[in-house]
């Protein structure tokens, strides 16, 4: 009898110990991978709010996956009507039924790009914490906090649907836990009967009867490069994910070199282009929610740093940009 009790006790002990070890692995990362995967693979439609700088905007979003890829439509519900179509790595922006901007995601995989090395950078620079389950838009969501280990990046708090893995709410917290930016679904339908009529319109007659124009930036215009430019003081864990040459400003100016660095949760882009004395290109800092942008003319080049990082980080990065030679 005593022997049996001992065995049971040892078994319990083992279970407890293994549990402790299991918790040492940042479990938040699993949720992140799940959310990134579910975001691409799930059909859903809903209404979400975007909150930044004491402003709130409401938008409608539909996301469906067809045989030829993902289709996504974003439509503003307040203010002037704006619409964004996202398909096959390309982005069309409409303002009052007028197409105003085209972007592309050439060279980007259609599937989640959370690479193992990015995940390890993430766990090295953020403390992941599970904060329990909360309700968002009527669904149960696991709350995960990613707290940076330095003050060069923002705190990220995400709410992931416990069943589908969809991201239901996403808060970026800055200095003194102020909200830099927040997305949250207020109403959401996952799967089921989702309106796809606009998808066929996109492919045949085109949205607003004009057809989706091909973006001026095609794959052949965007080329991988090694420009010889470097940034010496990037925050730790930011690894270069790509360096390309691309046309920008609707091809108005010369090609621009873009370097992208990521720590797994946020990215910093560095743009280098010849300074053509455009009056719009003044030195300075600007922001949109959690994204900060810093412009500076360095000798004969205009350098622009953009990232989901605090203002002092984009400034620090820009001040360390230099030409190292090829």
């Amino acid at each position: 009898m005593a022997m049996r009790l001992l065995v049971v006790f040892c078994g319990l002990l083992l279970a407890v110990v293994s549990n402790v070890y299991a918790e040492e692995r940042p479990v938040g990362l699993d949720w992140l991978e799940v959310a990134a995967f579910a975001g691409h693979q799930t059909d859903y439609s809903g209404v979400f709010v975007y909150h930044y700088e004491n402003r709130v905007e409401t938008s409608n979003i539909i996301h469906v996956t067809e045989v030829n890829g993902e289709y996504e439509k974003l439509e503003s519900l307040d203010g002037p009507k704006r619409e964004i179509i996202h398909h096959d790595g390309q982005v069309w922006v409409y303002n009052n039924h007028k197409m105003v901007q085209v972007g592309s995601q050439q060279g980007r995989s259609r599937f989640p790009s959370l690479l193992p090395e990015q995940l390890s950078a993430l766990s090295a620079n953020y403390q992941a914490k599970l904060l329990g389950v909360e309700r968002v838009a009527g669904y149960n969501a696991q709350v995960i906090l990613f707290q940076p280990k330095d003050n060069l990046r923002y705190t990220h708090k995400i709410w992931v649907h416990t069943d589908s893995g969809l991201l239901l709410k996403d808060a970026v917290l800055g200095d003194k836990n102020t909200v830099a930016e927040l997305y949250a679904f207020t109403q959401l339908q996952i799967g089921g009967n989702i309106d796809r009529s606009w998808v066929r319109e996109c492919d045949s007659v085109g949205l607003h009867g004009k057809g989706l124009p091909r973006p001026p930036e095609t794959a052949k215009d965007i080329t991988p490069t090694n420009s010889g430019w470097v940034a010496d003081t990037l925050p730790s864990g930011f690894k270069k994910t790509m360096e390309i040459q691309r046309p920008m400003h609707h091809g108005k100016h010369a090609t621009v070199t873009q370097m992208v660095f990521s720590d797994g949760l946020s990215a910093i882009s560095i743009f280098i282009e010849p300074n053509d004395g455009d009056e719009d290109d003044v030195d300075g800092l600007s922001s949109r929610g959690a994204v900060n942008l810093y412009h500076k003319v360095l000798d004969k080049n205009l350098i622009t740093v953009v990232g989901e990082v605090p203002p002092h980080t984009v400034m620090q990065v820009l001040d360390s940009v230099r030409y190292n030679g090829k």
């Binding site: 996504e72 704006r82 996403d170 797994g264 946020s266 800092l285």
Partner: protein, 173 residues
């Protein structure tokens, strides 16, 4: 000056004059000696049986032979010291409580204290016409786009309605 001293000894000097004279005596060793001698004369005149020569020098000699006593200071001084120390400790612990409280609210406050001094206030992106190009170009490769899907593209269009007010309000620059 010697006369003044004798007048002082007789208690016939005005208070302010006496004060300045005593000050002189304290600083001038000759006057100090005179002061001692005059007192001795007085003493001799009054009590001729007990005459002591240069008592002060003898006292000084004896004092030098005395061992130095390393003892706590008087009670009043000690108490005042303690009060100061206590109030200092109180304010220190108040700082501690504030720091602890802020740590309780948000653990990342502590490292960010350094950056509060230079609180950066970026202008809204609407003041730059080209910003959107960079924003879209950046967004394509950001992990946040992976997470939020197209929702993060709302950033690129959310400025439209602000354009007019910004032009009317130069303060916002």
């Amino acid at each position: 000056m010697k006369q003044k001293i004798s007048v002082l000894m007789d208690g016939e000097l005005f208070e302010d004059e006496a004060a300045s004279l005593l000050d002189h005596i304290k600083r001038d060793s000759d006057l100090h000696k005179d002061w001692g001698v005059y007192h001795l004369i007085g003493d001799v005149l009054r009590q001729p049986e007990h005459i002591h020569c240069d008592l002060s020098a003898k006292v000084r000699e004896r004092l030098q032979d005395e061992p130095t006593v390393l003892a706590p200071r008087g009670r009043t001084v000690k108490q005042r010291m303690r009060t100061i120390a206590l109030s200092a400790a109180a304010s220190l612990s108040a700082v501690g409580v504030v720091a602890w409280m802020s740590l309780q609210i948000s653990p990342e406050v502590a490292p960010q204290m350094a950056m509060q001094q230079t609180a950066l206030r970026p202008v809204g992106m609407q003041t730059r016409t080209n910003s959107n190009d960079y924003l879209i170009a950046h967004q394509e490769f950001s992990p946040s786009t992976d997470m939020n899907g197209g929702a993060s593209y709302i950033r690129t269009v959310s400025y439209s309605r602000d354009e007019a007010p910004v032009k009317n309000n130069p303060d916002e620059k």
